[in-house]
């Protein structure tokens, strides 16, 4: 059971089950806990190789036991996401913890990832359960639906879930080359049905400079 204690600490109550969490993110626990490092994100040999190849490395540990365990990561804000069989796409650096009922994997994102400076691949989480994602400042959750497509700055995007198509929009014109661009040369457009998580801060991206 995931719950937030304040906005920057995640508390997980466990009764013999296990959660996967970012390596080294435990700040405190009570009861009996065992921490085991999972190589390759706990996705087996195949996952390990894929993660190594795609650059979506994440060092993950498995926490198992009875009691409460608290997690935090560099005082960044934590957002809880509950999944009912749908898929969450998140940058591996923003994924803090996942439930037992969730599987993680990697997927190809194409140009979008490149414009974001995070590589061409992203991490997926699917199944039934809860996941915790971190953001710089509390994330704003925006709904994407058929009548309301959404456009997001790649530097502020952290995750999305549901049945959403994403495409890269480019506003690069000859003005950009003259240095008179709109400052929003690359944007991610989301269409379909789902949720997008956006943080109130922008990572440095190549897109942010043009």
């Amino acid at each position: 059971m995931f719950r937030l204690q304040g906005s920057k600490v995640l508390a997980v109550d466990m009764t013999g089950d296990a959660v996967k969490a970012k390596n080294g993110s435990m700040v405190a626990y009570d009861g009996q806990m065992a921490f085991k490092k999972l190589s390759g994100g706990g996705e087996g040999i195949r996952g390990m190789v894929t993660r190594r190849l795609t650059g979506e490395q994440m060092t993950v540990m498995e926490v198992k036991g009875h009691g409460t365990c608290w997690f935090a990561d560099r005082a960044s804000e934590i957002n809880l996401v509950s999944l009912q069989g749908d898929k969450l796409y998140v940058e591996s650096s923003n994924l803090l913890a996942t439930d037992t009922g969730l599987r993680t994997g990697t997927t190809f994102t194409g140009l979008r990832g490149a414009s974001q400076g995070n590589g061409l691949f992203t991490t997926t989480v699917e199944g039934h359960g809860q996941a915790a994602i971190t953001s710089d400042g509390p994330a704003v959750v925006l709904r994407v639906s058929a009548q309301y497509p959404l456009t997001v700055d790649p530097g502020a995007y952290i995750a999305h879930q549901g049945n959403v198509r994403q495409s890269l929009q480019s506003g690069v014109t000859f003005r950009t080359l003259l240095g008179e661009g709109g400052g929003e040369a690359f944007q991610m457009r989301f269409e379909g049905d789902g949720l997008v998580y956006v943080q109130p801060s922008e990572r440095n991206t190549i897109a942010g400079d043009v």
């Binding site: 959750v141 309301y148 003259l178 801060s201």
Partner: protein, 266 residues
């Protein structure tokens, strides 16, 4: 309606529930455009619904708009104009953001703190270097490190905590002379030995108006305001009486503020 988002979970926003020209949370501000325009600092838009266009200020179609509400020519490459209809979210490095209404007034603000403003306001460079002045009626959005508090002059404030001031005359420097004069005072100020409190220098405000302070002394990254005309008598221009319009000191290095290169974003 989509099935995502559970009751009791995080608040999910869509264009219907997003506020109009108001804060979504302490760090995010929502602007509604209905065929109207807003000036914003480059790269502060984080997401939008609807259809919008972001154009650099050098864009030909915007000439008229820029002429009436943008008087900081060499600073233009850092600003864009958003046009269209929909709702747009603004944020800045997870700092607190707030909107302020000016009613036929004037407000001077540290350049790095200003995020966006309505074109009904005119933006001008302040003669205090590093500050911008907004004049007119309209709304603007500013960021601060921690919530902003409003104070009334006469007041002396710490330079790092100052965000801006409205309606009152520009501040002057105030030195704590009792503590800083004499040989011992000079040594203290220079070396910190013998107990410099770090508060020997303040900005002093007098007159009627409001002073805006942020609640930390961590400055936000300064945003270039562009160079001022190189003339004698212009503060910050390096003009020396008798040497009209001549630059003093070292020749200008590439990359220095206000260069042609800045203008072209290099």
């Amino acid at each position: 309606m989509s099935g995502y988002g559970v009751p009791g979970g995080p608040v999910v926003h869509d264009p219907m529930t997003l506020p109009v020209d108001d804060n979504v949370n302490k760090y995010t501000f929502c602007v509604e455009l209905k065929g109207s325009e807003w000036f914003l600092q480059k790269g502060k838009m984080i997401a939008y619904y609807g259809s919008m266009e972001f154009n650099g200020i050098g864009h030909g179609r915007l000439d008229r708009l820029v002429r009436t509400s943008f008087h900081s020519p060499l600073h233009a490459s850092d600003w864009v104009v958003a046009q269209g209809s929909g709702k747009m979210l603004l944020a800045d490095r997870a700092f607190d953001v707030n909107s302020y209404d000016l009613d036929d007034g004037n407000l001077t603000i540290r350049s790095g703190n200003l995020l966006a403003f309505q074109p009904s306001l005119a933006l001008k460079q302040s003669i205090v270097p590093g500050f911008l002045t907004l004049i007119g009626t309209g709304k603007f959005v500013a960021a601060s490190n921690g919530p902003v508090v409003f104070m009334e002059p006469p007041i002396r404030v710490d330079p790092q905590a100052l965000v801006g001031w409205a309606d009152c005359p520009s501040p002057c420097h105030h030195y704590d002379h009792g503590y800083m004069t004499g040989v011992m005072g000079g040594l203290r100020a220079m070396t910190g030995l013998g107990g410099a409190s770090g508060e020997e220098h303040q900005f002093e405000f007098v007159g009627a108006g409001t002073v805006l302070l942020q609640s930390t002394e961590i400055l936000m990254a300064e945003q270039a305001t562009g160079a001022v005309p190189q003339q004698a008598g212009v503060p910050g221009a390096g003009g020396v009486p008798g040497q009209h319009g001549q630059q003093t000191g070292a020749p200008r290095l590439p990359g220095q503020l206000g260069d042609l290169q800045r203008r072209f974003g290099l």
